[in-house]
Subunit: 361 residues, 4 copies
Amino acid sequence: MSSTYGENIKISVFGESHGGGIGVVIDGLPAGETIDFDAVLTQMARRAPGRDKTATPRRESDLPQVLSGLLGNTLTGAPLCAVIQNTNTRSGDYGNLLDCPRPAHSDYTAYIKYKGANDIRGGGHFSGRLTAPLVFAGAVCRQLLNKRGVRIAAHIASIGAARDSRFCPTAIDADLMDRLSRSSFALIDETAEEAIRAEVERARLDGDSVGGTVECAVTGLPAGIGEPMFDGAEGAIAKIIFGIPAVKGLEFGAGFDLAAMRGSEANDAFRYADGRVVTETNHCGGILGGITDGMPLIFRAAFKPTPSIAQEQRTVNLQTGANTTLTVKGRHDPCIVPRAVPVVEAAAAVALADLMKGSGI
Amino acid sequence: MSSTYGENIKISVFGESHGGGIGVVIDGLPAGETIDFDAVLTQMARRAPGRDKTATPRRESDLPQVLSGLLGNTLTGAPLCAVIQNTNTRSGDYGNLLDCPRPAHSDYTAYIKYKGANDIRGGGHFSGRLTAPLVFAGAVCRQLLNKRGVRIAAHIASIGAARDSRFCPTAIDADLMDRLSRSSFALIDETAEEAIRAEVERARLDGDSVGGTVECAVTGLPAGIGEPMFDGAEGAIAKIIFGIPAVKGLEFGAGFDLAAMRGSEANDAFRYADGRVVTETNHCGGILGGITDGMPLIFRAAFKPTPSIAQEQRTVNLQTGANTTLTVKGRHDPCIVPRAVPVVEAAAAVALADLMKGSGI
Amino acid sequence: MSSTYGENIKISVFGESHGGGIGVVIDGLPAGETIDFDAVLTQMARRAPGRDKTATPRRESDLPQVLSGLLGNTLTGAPLCAVIQNTNTRSGDYGNLLDCPRPAHSDYTAYIKYKGANDIRGGGHFSGRLTAPLVFAGAVCRQLLNKRGVRIAAHIASIGAARDSRFCPTAIDADLMDRLSRSSFALIDETAEEAIRAEVERARLDGDSVGGTVECAVTGLPAGIGEPMFDGAEGAIAKIIFGIPAVKGLEFGAGFDLAAMRGSEANDAFRYADGRVVTETNHCGGILGGITDGMPLIFRAAFKPTPSIAQEQRTVNLQTGANTTLTVKGRHDPCIVPRAVPVVEAAAAVALADLMKGSGI
Amino acid sequence: MSSTYGENIKISVFGESHGGGIGVVIDGLPAGETIDFDAVLTQMARRAPGRDKTATPRRESDLPQVLSGLLGNTLTGAPLCAVIQNTNTRSGDYGNLLDCPRPAHSDYTAYIKYKGANDIRGGGHFSGRLTAPLVFAGAVCRQLLNKRGVRIAAHIASIGAARDSRFCPTAIDADLMDRLSRSSFALIDETAEEAIRAEVERARLDGDSVGGTVECAVTGLPAGIGEPMFDGAEGAIAKIIFGIPAVKGLEFGAGFDLAAMRGSEANDAFRYADGRVVTETNHCGGILGGITDGMPLIFRAAFKPTPSIAQEQRTVNLQTGANTTLTVKGRHDPCIVPRAVPVVEAAAAVALADLMKGSGI
């Protein structure tokens, strides 16, 4: 029904790419906890464009103005509202009337749903720019989780055919988590960077784009988070991750590989280690029956290639009713996966802060 | 927070495997529409166990008793409640105190979350048996959708290494949809049946189990269904699909394959065909920006192998605090994928009926 | 959208007066707490008809069957579902097609809303009988509250022109609370009983009915329950109290009398008493800014007279389009206020259990 | 859980009296409808302080800046966000640490709930100033309703002992509705103005404040709006009306007077008039069974006196634990009822726009 998420900590995201501003209201945050605002800005900067060649050369200040909910650096308990003004917009790159929907964008479906009234400039409310308020919300929620011993980090698992290593599912180093969660080109195996950047650069030189996957890990979660059936941890995370533009797949633990396994291989045996119950393997990704089991929660999201490419594409002219072609103008990322890493982390942080509050933890 | 789903058509699923009964309340159904109850029972029968060798030999009558919301065969507008009594339960197969959690089951996480008070017999509220009320709800919603020209069908896309054909993403035959949506071992390519059954049989003979994937298609959806961001069609479907026990992955359209594609390949070009806007390919699975585009909506869900296997497994004894082993008794499906097909269809039906009502269609 | 209530503890009420059964699903109850089922039945009996001359002579067994969520007397954490079978129904008292809507009943509005498909027998889903599942839910929630030191009791504040005493707003005796919460004709001043019964009897002898008010007090609530603005304690209670058929007014503390007061009179001064902050008066009814202040929470609900009276009334014939008259047959309470007392208590219990869980208390 | 309201049209109100700004996000508005922004500002001006002697002499610009959801004067379908900057704040009037809670304010309860972290300046999130965004949201929703033939107007029904006439419940003149809905001191009987203003002036001269009631009518509603039980029209309106600071009572139709009536008097007889079903009287306030019956929907809300008065009051010092006295400084309305009139209308507009969308109308 809406751009809202959450039961216990609720976020409501607003804004359009070329309107007055974008932002988020976060309702249900715990009064009295302090927020490190510099750490919030660090997360915003990871998502912001223009940091390297894989990203669009646009410059957005993306500086959030907090209107309410924070007094000094302390949460007041009132809804936290942050606004990011839209400043660097070049609307001339876009027409105002939708003639030709860009393939793989929301242009056509939004045109139908909103009867042609939606703001098409820059994708309007469907712009990837709307992930900035999500990163803001996630940066706040992440700090709440950190204080409870929970760490969240993601990395570029693959771009095109180039791959990073995967998280070790049963033991993830705290230093690795910290390094990734501050990186702007997050990789577990930093020797993979050259091959991955090469995939993006080849796409860029071809006037094309390329997709990829992001893998995210959450460590330090207690067992017992999540609800049965439709509010299980997988479903709660899925609802917000699929809210990130371009995500078309999501898997937990061994995910799709489990479909080809035998139970004797897939089942994670329980063991005591240092008096705690752990599992020897972690094919389930830290979630059993929708509820966390205390092992690292691990998932991977698949991103389709950026729809905007420099090549001519076939489309229709909705005003004339004729088939035609289109060349998308404007400045676009050849690959959004590096910038999607902090967005995935943020979405996970919002989902888990909501679930943990719901579980009374 | 709960075993509830939906904004406009809401379902609340209740029951435990070995309690008095299980069922569902469906709130928000349109008064005055007629329901073909035999067609509902047909769907229930597709999910029921004991129909062939891939399933457990248990017999559950699974006959739903409607307590309210239906007068004759007409929806009254009041909440529709259906109850299925639990009759054929052999509690002796299970202990009453949780000593040793079964690997890959919810035993351990439910024990932690519910402080040992949950009913562990048969998995309690986490039992796959709780998908019976979901199939009931889906069978009702499916009929509402059918009257609006929407068809839903799924098939066994793979079990272990054996595969069925995939749906043609741009044109799915109505007869195929009808055939699949009534089948109890649903395959597009019926010549694949022997290989697929052989995978299951091999697992069964090994005292093991095997996973698989289910592919689901929805045809006849108008463009414009779904909301931006977190209530997009992908997120809405994901929330309910991940509510099905054993699902660990979900992808729409080309899904994870998109992560390796270039935009020039992945983007679905728009064309006019018979005066309608269509796409030449359907890598996006019929959803752009969270909103349906009028093409078939296609997704695949990955199911892990049935956790209950006859082989000895390593686990812990929560009462003694020692590592131990466990051999799961009771009767279990070596593969739940064939029976999961109608469950996936039902979940899709509930999600889409809810979204369509929300979209005012 | 529905017959559901609650954010943290959710109830979904189903059933129709003359259908198969009625009941409730309660989602979000805390696992491991014990329920005294006899105490639940005591509450159900207080609402049941046929206990004295103020009530209809119908006999309903109203015996709830628990289908899930309770193992022995312990909550399992799964949704708690209770069903009450409909047995003693005399449908012949009612036609099946709505010709002439009964004045002040939901007949006409339900006919319009549900396009004539609603079950009109006995009022269908709008029957006062649907308060039985609400009393069940309230009886469970009340026990959770009791364990946290919270007590709920209501009484017949007035019927027609006859009045009971009001609660002392600043100090309510625990024995009085206990006595009222078990009474089937609950009065603070038992000497008022004769006058109040006389009002009902006069209405009955006249083939008429009479309205009244119920006053409810909640003691032992900690300060800090409730949320700002739309989820304040008043709003949360109002939403469920107005869900009780026949309620047309609700006031907290001094309520409508506050409208004629000066601030210097209305403001409740703070004082320390035994180291606790209290107020000298309690015109605000224990709620400031939507949040409890630790004083007794007090509200009054106004009930209109039972719409069904033996006298001839003017109405329309919806089938012929003509004005006509109607004499309502069947057995009806001349005054539902005595039986509404446990319903009001139950509604308050559900609302406060939900709010307390949301406040993490 | 929060400062949010609505199922189909959702509002999320944010801000604190002396923070950066206040505002609202409205989600679910219909794309393509035009908004008369001047008419929105007219409603905002009715609520703004400083217009006459009954109000505080503070000047707030209260000019809303729309950040998203509106392109030109057309709704885009994206969440509509409006922000009002806080400019004219004199924080020196208030201390920063809560020593002595003001009687009848939320100071004490917010202090407990938010552990002393809430922004107490001007009441923070509990300030009456937060009704400005609600008026904004209502002004937008009102226009949607107007286009569907629905009109909303309220008036000062009483202040202290002085009273205006009441709405004729069965026939309300359209010109009266229009006049009231633009008035800044709304009265049906304008000859009552002198007596009503005199009540306020007497309170002001006494350094005191006075309460009152607001009566609201909604005309042109079709029959069939509202849901059974907890989402009935009364409950939906109650939840938002009790979200307005200082409201302590609410009644529909004859309200509390119904409690003293006989059924033969209270029941509204149905009649055909010009081929439409109407009722001869309207004691039910246009709502039967929670569903509108097509007659005017009428309710009255009771407002307590403004808590801030110039007289010395008894309170406690939370830092020293001693009883003490307090004289509230700052500028305050001796009566907020005149300014509450547009707030009540706005709340009704939001509730009914939400209900109508939910009813598919």
